[in-house]
Symmetry: D3
Subunit: 146 residues, 6 copies
């Protein structure tokens, strides 16, 4: 029931999302876990959601069939977007845009095997006006049982 | 005006907040920047805000006199708490508690010196029911001009 | 001033919204009350609002002239949508869609005639990904004085 | 993957929460499902959460051990509270109180057995000023995979 | 149905709330309207709501009996508090305090007499840290049919 | 550190936004302050943000170069929009439209010169259904250090 020190799924996901290609190759996650990374830039929050869902299904992190795992992933994405947008989950509607790297990690972060699989969605990048450089960093993390 | 690659103030803050004591000692930030780290655990969101403000003032990250810098820090804390709480900035009122490490970093993350100082507040830890182990990780980042 | 046991306007509205055509025909509401039911499915929250408003005016639940009753209905719809969306009143923008049955009921649910008319908007149906079957049920109820 | 017509878990939960003792006894749910009902009245949202969690564990709807099922229930409760409070999940802090009946139902509402168990939390009652009769009905429904 | 130029109820309410005693005496509102002003300072949002409700009832702006007018006033207060708090309707819970002047005005701001009475709640003052001077101005306006 | 009585930047901004052309000409603000006023009507929140930003840059209230001042203005606009929309920063998506006058004022409202410049964004006008006359007044104020 207790989080295992070396299986911090959120920390692993954040490190994956924050690392450049070189750094990523030096990161390790527990062998039985699954993960994928990707990039998405948009003023349209729908495209951010779609990009992450598509990648997670294509890379086999969640099942493409059925609703259960899609539902778990969706709410992890929404939670991560809350951190990125801090208040209103809106981008273009309030004239801002994001450039994000994302990571999705699936595994059991608890010492007890009964806890089963959990999913972590981490987002890292920039948010700001739709003008190059008028932006600052932003981060979001969502974790759900799956 | 563009974010400098090696001066990602949010990434630095998150790494500080996510690292244990040993790891922290191996992290580097730009020499002219200021930073502090701390811990706070509570069901009371007010205590989280107070702990970060107190540390930032005691460690000289922001001025203790005047309102301007306090105002900048306060909104960075609120943004970081949005990521941690994802939706409603409430802890005990919705029966959950947090155990957080925080980092506050101050410096100019842009290539242009005219952008002046910015402040980043990073939070990393766990959120969950007030029962040991019934919790998962959570993260938040707030960035503001100061 | 007290809610009358057999004039629970919200319960009546929810039962209307949750019932299929056969079941609806067996439901009763106080004779002096007005009500209408309808259906709307969309990724566009604006269309949900419009469908309910149009039906309520067409069926004579509220006056088509003037602002007062439109204002009362509008906020009852918004409250019902809060229950359906739980957090952010957004559909397509966060890549989800709804298929809803709605009921609008107008009458006085209190024992005291001085309380005048109130309006209840009930929504029942499904919310989920824009993929058939990838959805679960959702409900919302808004009540306002009119 | 499609919701089964006679296994609408949210509708079942709402009907349980809206029914008085006599009506409840005439309701049926699928035999392999589990459910419980209860009552809670408070200005303190924490007490509402606690009452539902306690009942669900005591009645064996979810496991008392481990975090996974508690996490699923918690978010279903939060979603239901969103519908009840419509905007800010706050009661006493904005000077209002609730008197609620709740139902928790666990089962698979989908035709495909692979979808596994889901949990529905339904709330029905009144919300209003802390003065007898100064209140109207309110409803909330949260559904989560478990 | 159209707002009358000289009966801007919101503008009147804001001017009342923003004026000192001397300025208030020079303001005029339509003769058949009712209004009251008052002050409240607190870290407790409940006290702000209570102070406005109490004043509005004591000064005869709304009826003390029945729920209908209390309900209309309550939501106008909540809307005004949204403007004051900008995001989360929380004060002490996020370590901030307010010092507010409030005005409640009741009348018909429309050219058409059929629109009946409306109520405006205006709040003006300061919000900030619980330290003298660490604060800036804040404003909120809520308008509802009554 | 204390707000100066005759330099209430928010009050000045609100009065500018609420005044017609004749009234504006009789208002005074501290000589070293900068201000601009404008109008915007839209169902699209993005256009409201853009209109204010464009005016503030064109009139020299904030620098057109760099991100720092744009960031300060942006959050003041968002805060003002929170007051206008009261809950969800959405217009057309929830089928409502605004007709607003805005004022942006820059200056130091504190007695201590160390507090530097602050920016106030005030919005005043109407919000309602996209039907002439089906609207009521609305107000919003955002204040930020710059």
């Amino acid at each position: 029931m207790v989080l295992a020190i070396d299986r911090r799924i959120g920390k692993h996901a954040i490190l994956l999302a924050m690392s450049n290609e070189q750094e990523v190759s030096s990161l390790t996650i527990p062998v039985q876990w699954k993960s994928c990374i990707g990039k998405v830039g948009s003023m349209d929050s729908q495209k951010v959601v779609a990009a992450i869902e598509t990648a997670a299904k294509r890379e086999g992190i969640i099942k493409t069939e059925g609703y259960r795992e899609t539902h778990a992933l969706y709410h992890a994405i929404m939670d991560a977007l809350s951190g990125v947008t801090r208040g209103q989950v809106q981008l273009g509607a309030v004239m801002r845009t994001v450039g994000l790297r994302f990571a999705v990690v699936r595994g059991n972060p608890y010492e007890d095997v009964e806890e089963g699989d959990w999913i972590a969605v981490a987002l890292y990048g920039t948010i700001g006006a739709p003008v190059r450089g008028s932006e600052h960093e932003t981060i979001g993390l969502g974790i759900n049982h799956i």
